[in-house]
Symmetry: C2
Subunit: 182 residues, 2 copies
Amino acid sequence: MRSAGFIVWLTGLSGSGKTTVARGLRDRLVASRSVEILDGDEMRETLSRGLGYSKADRTTNIYRIGYVAQLLARNGVMTIVSTISPYREGRNAVRERCAANGIPFVEVFLDAPLDVLAARDVKGLYKRALAGELLHFTGISDPYEPPESPDLQLHTDRETASESVQQVLATLQDRRLLPAID
Amino acid sequence: MRSAGFIVWLTGLSGSGKTTVARGLRDRLVASRSVEILDGDEMRETLSRGLGYSKADRTTNIYRIGYVAQLLARNGVMTIVSTISPYREGRNAVRERCAANGIPFVEVFLDAPLDVLAARDVKGLYKRALAGELLHFTGISDPYEPPESPDLQLHTDRETASESVQQVLATLQDRRLLPAID
């Protein structure tokens, strides 16, 4: 087994910048090492096809993604998970399993006020959710439980994507998961 | 991305030696590279928890395992899948996706006569299946479709595990997926 894989788990509301930060991070890392992004939307089409958005199904989804992330990380892959993952219970269960298995787990909370995200509404989903057209839309018609003690909290409404990525890189360096990169 | 990962897909009836060959193979490979075994029984407890044994559910199970195997292999992991995978359709779909994605896929059929396996009955399952206690038991109460043109066919009723492993290694070397190992 190679060592030195890890999991960066990006959690936050729709539109909070998870995909952007994930890709920015990958682009900074990929030159030196294996990087894989596990994107929530893609997982819904593959591993979790058929699951819905109840709390139980969302938790199953997170367990599956967490399981696959561990398989990758323990083989030396820098694994970036990008998924709303609204429930603390699911995220914490993955964190605990990683701890038990010696896999570094870095939880990053992409924090941005709901009203900013709803105003920006990149995918047009907030408008539909606020009109009552979307059941189980996180932040509007379904809960989001923010991390109580994330390893890093980004304020993506007032940082550039590049600044956010830089903070993740710095956190990884602080944890000695990456050498200094410039 | 690292290159040089691949998938060895071990298919065969219960008791045909998949787990034994998978572990033997891993032990021969692990010194030099990242190796991961995706074991059917473990997948049933993790990624595929809740799935049953209908043809549709078995196919979903194979797609999920195939998807994860590709994630690992494209990051340089030598990935050994060990699962009955009774339907040609599912196995061939995974093979085709691997081909489309440039991921080497080596199908190994662990062939052993049903009566030998039933007589050996390592887990006591054949006895129960023949008594009609197990629905959907592959080979007895559920179909097994042997590969039509596997990359390698092992006869595990008349080879030692070590001989079987050696044949897989030789096949990988022939395909230039491994350097010569002695």
